[in-house]
């Protein structure tokens, strides 16, 4: 809870600062755009968060989106499949691929980093090969109104991707924080051996997390495909997995596993998009986009680490020497997260 609060305050402060310097931040059109971005990036970030909670990692998200994007375009424009069939096929492919990741990791005992790194390389290459490196669009195919609405439409003024993100967050929040599966997932990520001794099928728990991540990647992928409306196989979704990992880590997930929350990941994802928006609005050269993001993530995680270590040390000191004066120091603003 403390972690989420810290990053939430950072998010609010950042928004306030940007709004103060450039009031355009608060224009409806800017906020709508921002929410759309947060939605599209947030959805797959939640999936990645689940994987990180198992102690794993998923690096192939961006490449998989490129592959799904070009396949979706080809299925609709070249193979003339029905919209529903094409969408289901995309989701199916994503789930099968991530199931395969999960099995390689849990049955063959390969390291998640390596399995998904190979996925990152392989899917990107495959996407470029099947398209002969040509950018794919959706042309004049009919019946795509609903999908376009999902990516570009608004519901009562709220962008659809954001609406979807909220829906998905509620569902994953219940799964992660209120269901048996969520409990097992945290147990597995925290201490796989003890989880096994308690009768949990840890391999299966981990595999399911990858499959969920794959499905959410498919949803994000479809949104991005219609949001950009053209899919360039070499660039589409490039490095998006890093946005997801950054969001999860900012939101309090530990790469060691067993730690994290849906709310944290949501705030983390939002923070990253606000940063991109900030670069735009404050007239910072857009080439510094990544540098700003890197710096803020580094400072955020560093502050969290230093503060929690200081808290620990103070507790240990208090336990060692029951010094009445120690109480004088604890009244300060030590819990303020980031400066």
């Amino acid at each position: 809870m403390k972690k989420e609060l810290g990053i939430f305050i950072l998010l609010i402060v950042l928004c306030a600062v940007v709004a103060a310097i450039n009031p355009n931040f608060l224009l409806a059109i800017n906020l709508q755009n921002l929410a759309r971005q947060i939605g599209a990036f947030g959805i797959f970030s939640i999936g990645l968060g689940l994987v990180i909670i198992t102690g794993g990692i998923e690096l192939s998200v961006g490449s998989m989106m490129a592959l799904l994007g070009v396949l979706l375009s080809m299925m609709l424009t070249e193979w003339h499949l029905g919209v529903i069939v094409a969408v289901l096929a995309c989701a199916g492919i994503a789930m099968c691929l991530s199931l395969f990741h999960g099995l390689l990791i849990t049955r063959v005992n390969m390291q998640p980093f390596i399995v998904t790194l190979c996925g990152l390389l392989f899917y990107r290459g495959l996407a470029r090969f099947i398209t002969k490196d040509e950018t794919k669009g959706f042309g004049t195919v009919g019946g795509l109104d609903f999908l376009r609405f999902l990516a570009n439409g608004n519901l009562f003024g709220v962008p659809m991707p954001f609406v979807l993100l909220i829906l998905i967050s509620v569902v994953t929040w219940i799964v992660l924080h209120r269901s048996v599966y969520g409990r097992y997932l945290f147990a597995t990520g925290r201490n796989p051996e003890a989880a096994r001794y308690a009768g949990i099928n840890t391999r299966w728990m981990i595999t399911i997390a990858y499959v969920i991540s794959g499905s959410l990647t498919a949803i994000s992928g479809i949104i991005f495909a219609f949001y950009t409306n053209s899919v360039s196989p070499a660039n589409h979704g490039n490095a998006y997995e890093l946005y997801g990992i950054a969001a999860a880590v900012l939101g309090g997930c530990s790469l060691r596993g067993g730690e994290g929350s849906v709310v944290g990941i949501l705030i983390g994802a939002a923070l990253l998009q606000v940063l991109r928006n900030l670069v735009n609005l404050l007239g910072i050269p857009s080439s510094l986009d990544f540098a700003v993001m890197g710096a803020v993530i580094l400072l955020g995680v560093m502050a969290d680490q230093i503060l929690s270590e200081r808290r620990n040390r103070r507790q240990i000191k208090l336990m060692r020497t029951p010094n009445p004066l120690a109480a004088d120091h604890s009244g300060g603003t030590g819990s303020e997260p980031i400066r």
Partner: protein, 505 residues
Amino acid sequence: MPEPILEMSGISKRFPGVLALEQVDLDVYPSEILALIGENGAGKSTLMKILGGVTRRDSGSIRLDGQEVEIHSPSEAARRRIEFIHQELSVLDNLDVAANIFLHREPTKGGWLRWIDRRRLYREADALLAKLALQISSRTPLGKLSLAQQQLVEIARAISAGARILIMDEPTSSLTLTETRRLLDIVRDLKAHEVSIIYISHRLHEIEEIADRVVVLRDGRNAGELQRDAINHDRMVRMMVGRDLKDFFKSGKANGSTSDDRDWFSVRNLRTLRYPNTPVSFSVGRGEVLGFAGLVGAGRSEIARAIFGIDETTSAQVALGGQQLQITTPRDAISKGIYLVPEDRRQSGLIVDFNIRENISLPGMERYSRAGLINQARERAAAKQACEANNIKTPSPEMKAANLSGGNQQKVVLAKWLTLSPKVLIFDEPTRGIDVGAKSEIYALIRNLAAEGVSVIAISSEMEEVLGISDRIAVMHEGRITGVLEREQFTEEAVMRLATGASAN
């Protein structure tokens, strides 16, 4: 007699809740093989850790060559030419033999560049290996060597560091017979080169063979010593165990009401990963407590892990109440009412970062959930009840398990299984690292379980404990059950004899 090179006198050490060493004296003479023996937990390792600079003593003095010294760290011990070869090998299997031998003492060249002088490194390492009659090249990656060879590399490292006192903690515990012979030869050879050896072992036959003197510890105190001519197996056993059983167990003495049906839970031809060539068979009656005694590494924990489905096994026949069971995962065992309280509480028994409630409900989540969603009220209520029923001392079930004492942690592990009505409960070292008060509570719990008809298997390395809580005791030695003792045969000598590999008669 020459002057001792090492005199440890009046050494005491207290750990939270236990007095590990009380006024222990130990002298070592030049060129001597001194055997240090005692039951598990007698204080041998603690004493040696103090000498090796791993642990600080509370009181007492250490004199080297008559000079009083302080040994604060292992590197300081090394500077005083005391080397420690631990039971668990501490070699780096990603490096080669020479690199291991000269780790942190590599011959260098090139002045401040400190390049490793590879020629000299390998030449000196090879010379050393030849001296130990080891037929391996110093360029061999350590990972390619057998456990015994790796151990010899450790000895080579100690020698090359100029060891004058060499501490060997159970050096033969994982060696085969031939490898053991070889090691004993080398120990004798070291003695001839004026190294004094402190040799810790449970294998009394080896000690009969090589020791010049035996010092016995019992319950953290000196329990006597034997000179060369007086060393024999029976005397050593008597000195190790010679104490009265405390009335600790009186309240929870076996009730003798064991069922006639001693095959209620039976295990046939169980082959463990560690001892695949020695199939083990045994059975436990309904309401019976079967103790498993033996030395550390005898293969008892492996049996527990195999029954519970943690380790894969082949061809074991497990039956409960006449029904054959197929157990390949812990889930299978749990569904049949067979539970394990594992040896390593913090690593396997609990998720210490989870709170008490989450730990207790973990294996039986289906009881507290509907359609996959947790009924929090029911879970909380069950956890609260389990805390009260098992007398877990905590302000609330929402406390992290990490913050509990060892005894209370163990009660959480137990509570977890007791809420699921066990049929067979396996305890692996039920009271390791637990204070006396919690210990007696756990013994009472075990007796209650047996009285309710649960078949209990209790693996314990504490002699008193295994004699106190068991209705029958199976004693193991190197993967085999060397004998099963009935209550009227229970003596510490009988157990120790079987545990050290003597035959049943």
